[in-house]
């Protein structure tokens, strides 16, 4: 069974029909994507617009919750793109999933404390091993230094 345009329009929930009556979709009327004057012709009912006389920001005519309700309903009937721009760049379903900001901890895991200090500790150990003879000489005196030199001189060069 294929629906005609008239039949399909009647299937649209009353809430959406009322909205589109008051705010006709894009080719018939255009809506600003950024906040404008409340009295402007292209004033977006989803955005907090500014009153030209008082310079005060009015709350959006449709709250964030009602915007979401309308969008989700329109999405199920394939007319979500006919709605004016949503406030705060609000996204739903796949679009929301794709544009999701990854968690900081997932991108850069902190790691355990041994993982974080491993490189530094390795370097410190390497440095200490290379300086081992000097440190021993410093603490044990010249006699030990001479012994080391003698051992080096008496070292067998053959096997």
């Amino acid at each position: 069974m294929s629906l005609t345009a008239q039949q399909a329009f009647k299937k649209l929930p009353q809430k959406l029909q009322n909205f589109f009556t008051r705010y006709p979709p894009a080719p018939f009327k255009k809506y600003a994507s950024t906040p404008t004057s409340t009295t402007a012709d292209d004033a977006n009912p989803f955005l907090p617009n500014i009153h030209p006389v008082t310079n005060k920001t009015h709350n959006p005519i449709y709250s964030m919750r009602r915007q979401s309700d309308l969008y989700k309903l329109a999405y199920k009937f394939g007319v979500s793109d006919l709605l004016p721009t949503l406030n705060n760049g609000k996204m739903f379903f796949q679009e929301k999933y794709d544009n999701k900001k990854p968690l900081r901890g997932v991108v850069n895991p902190k790691g355990h404390i041994w993982e974080r200090t491993l490189e530094a500790r390795k370097a410190a150990i390497q440095e200490a091993v290379s300086k081992a003879d000097d440190i021993l000489v410093e603490h044990r005196g010249m006699k030990y230094k001479r012994r080391l030199e003698r051992r080096k001189a008496e070292q067998k060069t053959w096997v």
Partner: protein, 310 residues
């Protein structure tokens, strides 16, 4: 302090509220402080158990009784007093006790601090005595009743109230009449009974009063109006002014706001053009015709605009 508050004993010790054991303790202290003459011979009775009506008491002051217990057994005497607190009786020639009373309580005739004082007794201590007349011989004799019961009521002219007939239990044909009360002596300022009872006004109709409606018995120079008059007061100009809400003029800002709101409302689109409906309809039809999922169709049917409302 209001009467009710005073009776409730909100501020101060209320003996009624105390625990029975605590109350007994305080009663004991009180008893020790009393002089022996004032002490009760019988234990005090709780208020709810105290006799109130004639039917409770059964015997009253002036009744002839016969003592059935103790050394005075068989004596015929009469009741001189009743004691409410103990449900007890004092008899004229009944048992007495020697009590010592301080000189400031002495009567004029007394010369000793030791006085014979009547003891309070319960109703088990005596039996009620009545007189019956033998119709054949015409002799009258006294009988003592073990107990009495009450059957029916009559108007007693001396007591000026309805009194129960006092019959001997199980022999109800014998009625022991109530004793005659002492006649009240009239003061010299008293109104005579005949004058007081004389009827001077008789209403003609219960619907229409003979008393004129505008009759005012109050002093016309009285400062304050009576509370009945105050209730019927009419609204004054001051009252009306207070009751009516003030009609405040709207400010220029408010007027501009109204104008703007009206303008916005006039601009609002209230009906959808066929063009727009067709445009949206096509989009919706394209989408719905692709749907194969039966559960999705179930949902669409539930929320659709052409759904029949229950």
């Amino acid at each position: 302090m209001s009467r009710l508050l005073k009776e409730s004993k909100r501020y101060g010790a209320n003996m009624k509220r105390l625990h029975p054991l605590v109350k007994a303790h305080f009663d004991n202290i009180n008893r020790k402080g009393q002089i022996p003459a004032v002490r009760n011979d019988l234990p005090a009775v709780r208020e709810e158990k105290q006799f109130k009506s004639l039917e409770d008491w059964k015997y009253t002051v002036g009744d002839k009784v016969m003592i059935v217990k103790g050394a005075l057994k068989g004596t015929v005497t009469s009741i001189i007093r009743t004691q409410k607190e103990t449900n007890g009786f004092m008899l004229e020639d009944g048992p007495t006790k020697e009590v010592v009373i301080p000189p400031n309580y002495w009567l004029q005739s007394e010369s000793s601090h030791v006085v014979e004082y009547p003891k309070v007794v319960t109703s088990e201590y005596f039996k009620l005595v009545g007189t019956i007349k033998d119709e054949t011989s015409g002799e009258s004799r006294q009988i003592a009743a073990n107990d009495v019961v009450f059957r029916g009521k009559y108007w007693d002219e001396d007591y000026k109230k309805m009194m129960p007939y006092r019959c001997i239990k199980n022999k109800e044909e014998y009625i022991i009449p109530w004793p005659r009360p002492d006649k009240p002596e009239d003061d010299k300022f008293c109104t005579e009974e005949a004058v007081a009872l004389e009827r001077t006004y008789e209403p003609v109709s219960i619907f229409e009063s003979d008393i004129p409606s505008d009759l005012n018995l109050r002093d016309p120079l009285a400062k304050r109006k009576s509370r009945f008059e105050r209730k019927q007061q009419l609204l004054t100009k001051k009252d009306l002014k207070l009751l009516q809400s003030p009609a405040m003029p709207y400010s220029d800002t408010k007027k501009a706001f109204f104008r703007e709101r009206a303008e916005i409302r006039s601009k609002q689109i209230t009906e959808m053009s066929a063009e727009v409906a067709d445009f949206i309809g096509k989009r919706v039809a394209d989408h719905l015709n692709k749907i194969k999922d039966p559960y999705m169709w179930q949902y669409i049917k539930k929320v659709s605009g052409d759904r029949k409302k229950r």
